[in-house]
Symmetry: C2
Subunit: 263 residues, 2 copies
């Protein structure tokens, strides 16, 4: 196989569809936006769409496929979200039922699919500006924390905002705000800068998800809304049925991150 990092989104989706790639998608199709997936039955869809409207920072909707549709029309024109993600999680009443590489056999005509932006997009922009992204440097998963900030509830969906943290050198904090602000559709500007206790985080060394990373002298922790938030909120609501991508195994779109930037 050719070096997969050199392949186009379409070529990678093709490999995934054929079952030839079932690993995480970080580092693939650099420059192109990747998306989180949440699939819910129609009866939960209005409430979840409203939850995303009310909480755009953790839930930056890139595309919603109405009842029964499995082909995006904005993020790609030739994809099938039932087969083009490396691994899916199937949940029943909030419990993980199975991890699968294809959801065709689970598909129902009342499924509504939500594709949400992810922070890979702005991390690439930070790296281009020579701003360090510590977990990438240390080859770890990003540090994630359950904050004390409540999301705005909608119907059955409610819960705290989950945040990611990246340590940023003090002299680069302003630039970091400027750069990430351009990516409003992929978690956008930081939600908090500095003292973690202000947003209910006691110990940065003990993230709730992901790995702890090194914070160097002269660096401040900077926090962004995290795409784990909607997944946590959905699990908590225990819908009869739900399908998501497996963490890190994202949908690779044909849209450039630059096409999602607001300015």
């Amino acid at each position: 196989m050719r070096d997969i990092t050199q392949l186009s989104p379409k070529q990678i989706r093709d490999l995934i569809r054929k079952g030839k790639w079932d690993k995480p998608t970080a580092g693939l199709a650099m420059g192109y936006a990747q998306a989180n997936l949440v699939i819910l039955p129609q009866k939960n869809a209005f409430d979840f769409l409203l939850f995303c409207q009310r909480n755009p920072k953790p839930c930056p909707l890139l595309e919603v496929l109405e009842s029964g549709k499995f082909q995006p029309g904005f993020l790609s024109l030739d994809a099938d979200i039932r087969t083009d993600i490396p691994r899916y999680h199937i949940y029943q009443k909030g419990n993980l039922h199975s991890t699968v590489k294809d959801i065709k056999s689970f598909w129902k005509p009342d499924f509504v699919s939500f594709l949400l932006g992810c922070s890979f997009s702005f991390e690439e922009a930070l790296l281009r500006a020579k701003i360090p992204v510590r977990h990438i440097e240390e080859n770890k998963n990003v540090s994630m924390y359950i904050s004390s900030i409540p999301c705005k509830p909608a119907g059955v969906f409610h819960g705290p905002l989950v945040v990611t943290m990246r340590p940023i050198p003090l002299e680069q904090v302003t630039r970091t705000v400027q750069i990430t602000s351009r990516y409003a559709f992929v978690h956008g500007a930081p939600i908090h800068i500095g003292d973690p206790s202000k947003i209910g985080i006691r110990n940065l060394k003990q993230p709730d998800f992901g790995d702890p990373v090194t914070i160097r002298k002269g660096e401040t922790p900077v926090f962004w809304a995290c795409g784990v938030t909607p997944q946590a909120v959905v699990m908590k609501a225990k819908p009869d049925f739900c399908i998501t991508h497996a963490p890190g195994h994202m949908f690779i779109s044909d849209l450039l991150n630059e096409e999602l930037a607001i300015l």
Copy 2:
């Protein structure tokens, strides 16, 4: 009565609630965001919410009140959308049934209310930057045109993008893009600059809605998505029942336009 233009949003809403102000809201509570209103039965709500998600430029959702709720929780904490708008239009199957000053007697527990941003917010920012807003100078209604750009459909909702046009001196076009880009939640950046025929407009002197305005030598027409779009789309879909604000008679919120700016 004191000069109404000097009153706070709360004071103006109080006058409106008591039936003491039933005129347009342009020029009132300067600095504060005003909102368009669309109320639909729950059965149409998912499709309309999805339409807004897919067409954020003409449909910049500021707040959605779920089934039966009539008190906003974001735009204001003490308002009642059944009484706090000067005039409402009641539609049955897409036809105007009546114009009323209070919708309490029409209210049903399955009504979902959508409050959408309006261009007053960015016009104020243009004026502050000494960029002319011709229809205000000429004391007219803004020029509106049905463009050839289709909105992205959602369920029963579909139709063309309606745009507003403001003539801008060529040397101020870049600044105009910069300033209005900050107001992404109130129709945001222009959707087109220059030659009207590119977006299907034949004659700027014959707007589809509103009034024609003078275009001076050295000025170019600049086009923005218009809040008439969702109203036109809803009328076309002929839902059993729908309530909107009467044109120009908006909901005055407690949020400053600056609080809605993205940068």
